[in-house]
Amino acid sequence: MPTRRRALLSLAALIGLALLSLLVALAAGSLPVSAADVLCALSGNTGGLAVEVINGLRLPRALAAFACGGLLALAGTLMQVLLRNPLADPYVLGISGGAAVGALSAVLAGLTLALMNLAAFAGALAAMLLVFGLAHGDSSWTRSRLLLTGVIVAAGCGAIVALILSVAPEEGLRGMLFWLMGDLGHAISPWPALATLTLGLVVTLPFARELNLLSRGDTLAQALGVSVKQVKRGIYVLASLLTAVAVTTAGSIGFIGLVVPHLVRLAMIRLGWGNDQRLLLPASALFGGSLLVLADTLARTVIAPQQLPVGVLTALLGVPVFLFLLGRQPHEHQ
């Protein structure tokens, strides 16, 4: 494990990376802006077109991307501890499926963007409560039961999504597909996501050592004084909420929640710091946020003026990275 000093230094470096990614996002785009414009916009002044583009379009979108990336990475890290499986991701228990059903139903019904986000959030919560209620059925709350319930609920949601797509009118399909692939274009305000990310970190960091123990097995954790049942339920509810807010803001962006915790953990193992959640949780959140900001900047500039859904980019980048990582860790799953 890292010393506290090294952990803080690493986090400071990651905060630097996050700020850098945000600056890149503010500067990049079809309308060229100068450093002076960026400074002017950030200091709250109003000015020319450049300042308005930054304040009105790029900054909210970059912040939303940062918040969503952070939320997904944090939720993924928590799910991996909860399911004690390095291959778990925030969507494995059906949260994104529920959100997709909600969002697509709203589009089908011709509701506004705000109502669509509300419906997505309601769908995510419904899926979470359904899985929670079913897995809780006999109060055993075992991993396999939780996982099975989640996978089945996700499959059910997938079927409903396919149904909606097949009956939806042509003009709605494009929006639906963008939502399903994950796209920051329909993010209204970054603040709910940023507030949730802060809340998630504030709630989990005091329990980081308990999570370390939990990742080594329930019996060991309980014998060493962790209230296993309560902590596990807490993780489940929190990770689900974080995921729900992320998909509500930007649709189901893939791979960030799976690959980022992996990358950070791999770097920590290389440094001899192991799987310490005290650093892994905040580092994943910061790195995931920065990565999504950069990916989104790329998505809206690479074939400008046309925009790509950022989920396509994260998947395109995520798949080879993940396969590479799997190939590098032959002893991980004996």
Binding site: R209, R216, T219, L224, V226, G272, G274, R278
Partner: protein, 260 residues
């Protein structure tokens, strides 16, 4: 009179509708070392987990250092309980990569405050525990690369780093070669002599007779027998316990039991 480290009164333990013991009245004082013997499925591990407060008993009283279980091992009391009693599980899991040193340091968790990081003292305690198990030099090794015996010794080292007064060990000798079996039993005996209490589930009655001063026999039909090892561990009792005739051999004051 001192509070016993462990006390059961009319304890009844069940698992899956199967009763393991009934009316167990048992007292374990500091300095004692107990072996729990019984055939497969007699409920040794279930009883041990119950004593550790990891699962509730059916009925009866159970106190660890004067605190009533399972209540004292839940919620806010769990950490305080973990400073008193330690539990070595039969199986160890390492789904995530971790070094040997980190794994031992996990044992220090109940001694650390919410925002504390492991101090130099904690590291010294962890290193001492690794030394005792002959794992010095492996501190930076990846846990997933250890052999079964090394991993088992690491689990014992983790328990020592926890510094509990009451050590509950479920088959501490699994995967260990003969010399390490002896080393671990001697180490546990030293801990008992230093004022801890040991309760270990063992499979070899010879080891139990040699290293434990007391023994609890679980016959699996609600019957149990507890007392000084010299009186309880006899060929007649063991033959009944394992359902197979055993013969006692003696040499240099040691007693060994072999199947007839």
């Amino acid at each position: 009179m001192n509070t016993p480290l462990l006390q059961t009164t009319r304890l009844e333990v069940n698992i899956g509708g199967h009763r393991i013991c009934r009316d167990l009245d048992w007292r374990v004082e500091a300095g004692e070392s107990w072996a729990i013997l019984g055939r497969n499925g007699a409920g040794k591990s279930t009883l041990l987990a119950t004593l550790a407060g990891l699962r509730p008993q059916q009925s009866g009283g159970l106190r660890v250092a004067g605190l009533a279980l399972p209540h004292a091992s839940l919620g806010a009391g769990a950490r305080a309980m973990a400073r008193v009693r330690g539990y070595l599980s039969q199986h160890q899991f390492d789904p995530f990569a971790s070094t040997v040193m980190e794994t031992v340091l996990v044992g220090r968790h109940p001694h650390l405050g919410r925002w504390d990081w492991e101090s130099a003292d904690d590291r010294r305690i962890a290193e001492a525990a690794l030394n005792e198990l002959g794992l010095n030099g492996l501190a930076e090794r990846e846990v997933q690369t250890l052999s079964g015996g090394e991993r088992q010794r690491l689990a014992v080292a983790q328990l020592l780093a926890q510094e509990p007064q009451l050590l509950l060990l479920d088959e501490p000798l699994t995967h260990l070669d003969l010399s390490h079996q002896v080393a671990v039993m001697e180490l546990l005996t030293r801990r008992a002599a230093a004022g801890a209490a040991i309760i270990a589930v063992l499979h070899d009655p010879g080891f139990a007779a040699r290293y434990c001063r007391q023994a609890l026999l679980l016959f699996g039909n609600n019957e149990w027998l507890a007392g000084p090892a010299a009186e309880v561990i006899t060929a007649a009792n063991l033959s009944r316990l394992y359902g197979h005739p055993l013969r006692e051999l003696g040499a240099n004051g040691d007693r060994w039991f072999v199947p007839c």
